[in-house]
């Protein structure tokens, strides 16, 4: 065997930090007695998970962009909006497939739509990075101002192209309706959203732990200077991460639009607040924390929306305050910050 592989770890075992992972389970379990009916609770929980996965897709890029380059990108919502509109544009010519009641035929419409949404969002992300982000590296206030400005410009451009009205976007035929499992109605589309979200999460984790680029990203989040001192051009890496993050935001936007069955440019601004709450809860720079944060935010919003609709408006902020009181740097703080 080679010298590289033959040796093993002999350090004292690390205490794994499981509390953040248990948190969504605790929240779900705690909500059950209040909701009362098990079938309603199941429906709410699945809805929360689906929503969480979509929010995760939208936020994951943002947390890496901040972690890697300290860039506060308040324009990230623009990519969500772009993804949502692309769902409309790309699905239109594929409508025949979308109207079929065969799920496989629906996928013939959905998969290319998702790929187009991601590709265009990535391209928009590239342009956005060059035009708005690159000139203000290392200057937080300017980043906030200019990226927010970028979001407004993007929103207005979408209005100019597609008009200010809400555009309906029906879910493909075979994905409409619900399964009935033990009296609980589970919307098919939500199941798909959960599956897609899990695929994104697993793929991201694999990329970050098994590939050289992933290692570089994690190393860069921890110590940017040292990555450069090893001879890697972190600005190029950053552009790549920015584009990948934009692509995921576009995917999330497309899924969200289909979930709500309508598209409007204001989706970008709406999701922006939510994604920031998620990445702060998760710990800036942490993909795992972002995943748990997204699920927590969505579950809380769903339970609160059912139990006390008025409180639902502030449930995200309340959740963030509680988490930060417990862990001021988020669930999984990245070591060097």
């Amino acid at each position: 065997m080679s010298a590289i592989e033959e040796t093993g770890a002999a350090l004292p075992r690390e205490k794994t930090d499981v509390w953040p992972v248990l948190l969504p389970l605790i929240v779900a379990a705690a909500a059950l007695p209040f909701v009362g009916s098990f079938s309603t609770w199941t429906t709410l929980t699945i809805a929360g998970l689906a929503m969480g996965m979509m929010i995760f897709a939208m936020s994951s890029g943002l947390t890496l962009v901040f972690g890697l380059m300290d860039v506060m990108n308040f324009g990230h919502g623009a990519f969500v909006a772009v993804g949502a509109y692309l769902a409309v544009v790309a699905l239109a010519p594929l409508a025949v497939y979308a109207q079929s009641d065969q799920i496989l035929v629906n996928l013939v419409a959905l998969v290319p739509t998702a790929l187009i949404a991601m590709a265009v969002s990535a391209a928009v992300g590239f342009a956005f990075e060059r035009a708005f982000v690159r000139p203000v590296y290392g200057q937080h206030l300017k980043q906030i101002l200019i990226t927010m400005g970028g979001l407004i410009v993007a929103e207005q451009l979408l209005y100019a192209i597609f008009g200010p009205q809400i555009i309906p976007l029906p879910v493909p035929a075979a994905l409409r309706g619900s399964f009935l499992v033990g009296g609980a109605a589970i919307e098919k589309y939500r199941v798909i959203a959960v599956v897609v979200g899990l695929i994104v999460f697993v793929a991201l984790q694999l990329a970050l732990t098994r590939t050289r680029i992933g290692l570089l990203i994690r190393a860069g989040v921890e110590n940017r200077e040292m990555v450069e001192a090893l001879g890697y051009r972190i600005d190029r890496l950053f552009v790549g991460v920015f584009m990948a993050g934009s692509a995921l935001a576009g995917l999330g936007g497309m899924m969200w639009a289909l979930y709500r069955e309508q598209v409007h440019a204001s989706i970008g601004g709406e999701m922006m607040v939510l994604t920031f709450i998620v990445i702060i809860i998760g710990g800036l720079g942490s993909v795992g924390g972002c995943f748990i944060g997204a699920v927590l935010v969505a579950l809380t919003a769903n339970y609160a929306g059912y139990l006390a609709p008025k409180i639902a408006l502030v449930s995200n902020i309340a959740l963030m305050v509680i988490i930060l009181l417990w862990r001021p740097r988020g669930l999984y703080p990245v070591t060097s910050r």
């Binding site: 080679s2 010298a3 590289i4 040796t7 093993g8 770890a9 002999a10 350090l11 004292p12 690390e14 050289r212 290692l215 570089l216 994690r218 190393a219 989040v221 921890e222 110590n223 200077e225 040292m226 990555v227 450069e228 001192a229 090893l230 001879g231 890697y232 051009r233 972190i234 990245v334 070591t335 060097s336």
Partner: protein, 241 residues
């Protein structure tokens, strides 16, 4: 006399509105270990960071292997053949020891032979190969930081205070490793506060004071001159034994 690999001439560095380096002149000769000594705040770390391109020289020239590098970006300086071990070691704590080394071997796969050679210096790294580097002790992290710098062939090693805060036994192992490296032909610029360490491994020595070089010469000569040491560094050997 061997040829100069690295030459700093009249280098000034500003950090924000602070003027840290006031015209540093320094030559590191190929195949030799050049010590950079001086009190805290004298500008030793800033000098290394300026060479590495992490601070930009506001005036003066830095030449490395025949090319000017004072306007180059850090990754390009690294690619030109300079390896850097910062004062805080810069170990990626979230990554395993192996992953740290994989990233250090930028040009491609880790070379088995070289790895065996590195493990020879730092056996602990083999033992903890698959552990998260953040769990290593301070001394082990320092070993990893140096191992990373020698994972590939570099023309020059810049090492900032490797013995800082380490237990005496580990300092001994480090001195041995650095001496072996020198014997293997490495060119090293080493910042060190511990005069005994400096004396053991240095060939040439520069002493800094308030952002300037105030003494340069052979390490042996400084080591033999208690009076000079007292004047330059405010210490003599006896007080450190």
């Amino acid at each position: 006399m061997s040829e100069a690999l690295l030459t700093l001439s009249g280098v000034h560095t500003h950090i924000g509105r602070y003027h840290i380096l006031h015209g540093v002149d320094l030559v590191a000769l190929r195949g030799r270990t050049t010590m950079l000594l001086g009190r805290n705040g004298a500008g030793k770390t800033t000098t290394l960071r300026t060479i590495m391109g992490l601070w930009r020289a506001s005036a003066g020239a830095v030449n490395f292997a025949g090319a000017s590098i004072d306007r180059s970006a850090t990754p390009d300086i690294a690619r030109a053949g300079v390896a850097y071990v910062p004062e805080n070691m810069g170990v990626f704590g979230d990554l395993t020891v192996k992953e740290n080394m994989v990233l250090a071997a930028r040009a491609g796969a880790l070379d088995e032979q070289r790895l065996a050679w590195i493990f020879g210096f730092f056996p602990a790294l083999r033992k903890f190969w698959l552990s998260r580097a953040g769990l290593l002790s301070g001394g082990q992290k320092q070993m990893l930081a140096i191992a990373r710098a020698i994972a590939e062939d570099h023309k020059l090693l810049l090492i900032d205070e490797p013995t800082k805060g380490l237990a005496p036994a580990i300092v001994g192992a480090l001195i041995e490793a650095l001496t072996d490296l020198r014997r293997a032909g490495a060119t090293i610029v080493l910042v060190e506060q511990n005069f005994r360490v400096a004396q053991d491994i240095g060939d040439d020595v520069y002493v800094m004071e308030s952002g300037k070089i105030v003494h340069s010469g052979a390490m042996d000569a400084l080591a033999a001159d208690d009076e000079l040491q007292r004047r330059l560094l405010g210490l003599n050997l006896d007080s450190h034994q």
